[in-house]
């Protein structure tokens, strides 16, 4: 595939309660094989998708949150999290699980994939994309 496009997957819903978060992650993982320029955005209740210590035993639904930590292996290394959405929900970066990738351009140094950005920056990130898929 010669042409490389910028794909942004926008995650706006809580991880459980609806299937959107899980099925978004499935697209991201399959899409990774197409070697496009992939970013993920987490805003609104979507920021809960990345919280650490998720335990779904009580609801009988699979806890898929560990999968986010595997994204680096799929060369998905840009996870933008909106600051205002965290603030509005009383969350900070410390409430999110660590997601890292190994930077092949920097001697495989381990770097954080999660980047907290402002709402205004998020708008710029969205405007910069070729394809936006919202879940």
């Amino acid at each position: 595939m010669s042409e490389i496009k910028k794909f942004l997957y926008v995650n706006r819903k809580a991880p459980y309660g609806t299937i959107y978060a899980l099925e978004s992650l499935e697209v991201v993982l399959i899409g990774a094989a197409f070697e496009q320029d992939v970013s993920l955005a987490f805003l609104d209740d979507g920021v809960f998708q990345l919280t650490k210590g998720q335990n779904t035993d009580g609801i009988g639904i699979k806890n898929f949150s560990p999968t986010y930590r595997a994204l680096g292996d799929y060369e998905v290394t840009k996870l933008y999290v909106e600051q205002e959405s965290l603030d509005e929900r009383g969350l900070t970066l410390d409430d999110l699980q660590a997601v890292v990738y190994e930077d092949e351009d920097d001697d495989w140094e381990e770097k954080p994939s999660i980047r907290v950005v402002s709402r205004a920056e998020m708008a710029d990130i969205m405007a910069d994309q070729d394809v936006v898929l919202s879940f």
């Binding site: 299937i19 099925e23 697209v27 399959i30 899409g31 197409f34 496009q36 919202s134 879940f135």
Partner: protein, 130 residues
């Protein structure tokens, strides 16, 4: 212009599949191309040929089947989403040992790669859903 279309909500509960249908019909009438429509999440339920809405209501599945027939639009149903929701074509029913299939004419079951490919190959990707 070349449009790709994603439908991510189910028929009748949500207007997404109706609005997308009118969008695709209008776009083609205006001379645009819509090579493919991708059904994801509950949108896969649009493809059921077993849906029997009341006579005086629009039939969403039949609308799409007619559009595929008249304009060659490729209607792709996501296999992962479809399997969860009991949407099977003949092959898949056989493979999974099920006694029935329900995918309507004009639709085909395929993978999420078709969605990504559509994003790469079209000028604009338009999503109908929440």
């Amino acid at each position: 212009m070349k449009f790709g279309v994603v439908i991510s909500e189910g028929p009748y509960t949500h207007q997404a599949a109706d609005t997308a249908y009118h969008f695709v019909k209008s776009a083609i009438a205006k001379g645009h191309e819509v090579p493919r429509v991708f059904f994801y999440h509950d949108g896969v339920n649009v493809a059921s040929r077993l849906s029997v809405p009341p006579q005086d209501e629009r039939n969403i599945q039949q609308n799409w089947t007619a559009l595929a027939k008249d304009h060659g639009v490729d209607l792709v149903v996501c296999i992962a989403a479809a399997q969860r929701r009991g949407m099977l074509d003949d092959n898949e029913a056989k493979r999974q040992g099920k006694d029935a299939s329900n995918i309507a004419e004009g639709f085909r079951i395929s993978g999420l790669g078709q969605l990504i490919e559509m994003g790469i190959q079209t000028d604009r990707l338009v999503t109908f859903g929440d």
